[in-house]
Symmetry: C2
Subunit: 322 residues, 2 copies
């Protein structure tokens, strides 16, 4: 049994092809090879917090995964991050614990951002002149870093509720090769970008259908629980293609769930990212099409990134096959 801490995990994943690992996971899931039971949940109050337990495996694979992730929203008042988590990797043939990846939520952040890159690779227009970002937090940063692997565009328009955080975002991302402008309104981002990533915890729409240019692709990442949403439902009605990471999960959470409730989208018209990757569903219909990818976060991403991290951690220790 090996125990790895966040800094070791971050170092081991530096330069890794995380996008390819996540793509392989989506493909396996859409082929029906992923076994992902319902998410376990505990909800606390005083102080408020929530814990999710995600677990599963790919048929024929060497490992199964159990992930415990938490959000305790008053933690910053105590000088602690609100999110935390760890992943446990077990050998599928014996149940032996292979590794404790005490990533403190880093792997979840990274696999979420990698799914954004997968969505952009599949659905963004050929030519992206400007990336629009809503939100200025960890995910807004990681999304941009992962997008750099799938697009050559480095022009960014960012909006955040807090101008100081938007300024910090620009300050931190510009040294990585991006040119970052700060938008005063979400409408500026919606009307002036070709590839939009929304990463806020909003419970009300931030982007409306009539704001979007033809050819725009939106990846919606923020709405990971049933109450959250970032897109007006009409965005889904106007979209020529709506993709989800896992449609059976998108029924209950995320933008597609809101679209289904308001009648703005039918599940039959939605496609899964894995099906696009497998080529069993057509991708972007035309250069002027509007496309939306709704990312709710799936355990198969956790499975894939945990295996990748473990393999690279072991390689750094000089162990190739384990």
């Amino acid at each position: 049994m090996h125990v790895y801490q966040r800094d070791q995990i971050e170092a081991a994943l530096s330069g890794a092809d995380v996008v390819a690992a996540i793509e392989a996971g989506f493909r396996a899931m859409s082929r029906g090879e992923a076994v992902i039971p319902p998410v376990g949940e505990m909800v606390f109050d005083r102080p408020p917090g929530e814990v999710h337990i995600k677990y599963g495996y790919l048929r024929g694979d060497d490992f199964y995964l159990v992930k415990v992730a938490s959000g305790f929203y008053e933690n910053p008042q105590r000088g602690l991050p609100s999110s935390s988590g760890l992943m446990l990797l077990f050998r599928r043939e014996t149940g032996q614990l292979a590794a404790v990846l005490n990533d403190e939520g880093f792997l979840t952040d990274l696999r979420t951002a990698a799914a954004g890159a997968v969505a952009a690779k599949l659905l963004a227009p050929k030519r992206v002149d400007r990336i629009g970002v809503l939100g200025t937090g960890t995910q807004a940063r990681l999304q941009l870093r992962m997008l750099a692997e799938v697009t050559t565009c480095r022009e960014v328009l960012v909006w955040g509720r807090d101008p100081a955080k938007a300024a910090a975002y620009r300050h931190d991302l510009e040294p990585m090769g991006f040119r970052v402008e700060i938008a005063d309104t979400t409408a500026e981002v919606a009307t002036q970008s070709d590839l939009i990533v929304t990463t806020t915890p909003s419970h009300a729409p931030l982007i409306y259908a009539d704001q979007l240019k033809p050819g725009t692709h939106i990846t919606a990442v923020g709405a990971d629980t049933p109450g959250k949403r970032e897109l007006a439902p009409e965005v889904l009605a106007r979209a020529d293609l709506v993709a989800g990471d896992r449609l059976s999960q998108c029924i209950t959470r995320g933008e597609i769930a809101h679209g289904l409730r308001t009648g703005c989208v039918c599940l039959d018209d939605c496609v899964e990212l894995g099906d696009l990757l497998l080529g069993s569903q057509p991708g972007r219909p035309s250069p002027r099409a509007i496309t939306v990818a709704d990312l709710t976060g799936v355990a198969v991403q956790d499975i894939q990134i945990a295996k990748l991290a473990y393999r690279r951690l072991r390689e750094r220790e000089g162990v190739r096959h384990d």
Copy 2:
């Protein structure tokens, strides 16, 4: 975050009052203070295995627990134990991981045995001349060791399918102060004991109603999944008192579940160990009554033993409050 291995955990719990910790858990559960969501499950074949994820907390407590336990039944062919597991203890106010207890299933074994001692303390006849044990494995051993804390009887009659294992059981337990006889049949144990503990993985009845002496108490431990059973249903019909560790769980697994299906017992006539401990239900009705305790294994036991282990591990490190 602290990581403890099995040998450290065993050493830290040496001399601990595990029975009191488990009693406190049962009491809290029967008072409605335990939050225990449904068990997560993964089932594998080729090689066959199963994984259970149990989690929960006591309201107002400092920690929540996530336990991952597995059984891979071909492991002994590889020189590995079939059962494995670990417990994760998190701080309830922040979600921070306090400890990884890599107990490899030891804590589950111990808390199960401690529940047997709780049941015997509540329901065994005042005078026990002989303890009968079905099974010769880890649980058959631990049950006897925990019973030594609640009864002065040291006369034991043991039955196992494999005579060599029964002999090993006698060889290992006699140095601990027990006098162990080996029975050729389960009927011998059933007819000649006052306090019977059944710890086998049997799927067919081993003990029948007409075999039992007046005043006998049976603690049934083996039937922890829906298919397993050790008692003929008529045993429950003949019993004057039937207790379960958690009645809402006993509906679907264990001896009570079989009794409900065959109409040999009504749920309204069953009591919970916690209610007996709280005094809200009367215990053993008379010296000649036959009583049964059905132990299916409850997450509140895991919560209690994990906290106890962590506290004692920290005390050994010189930390009193943590």
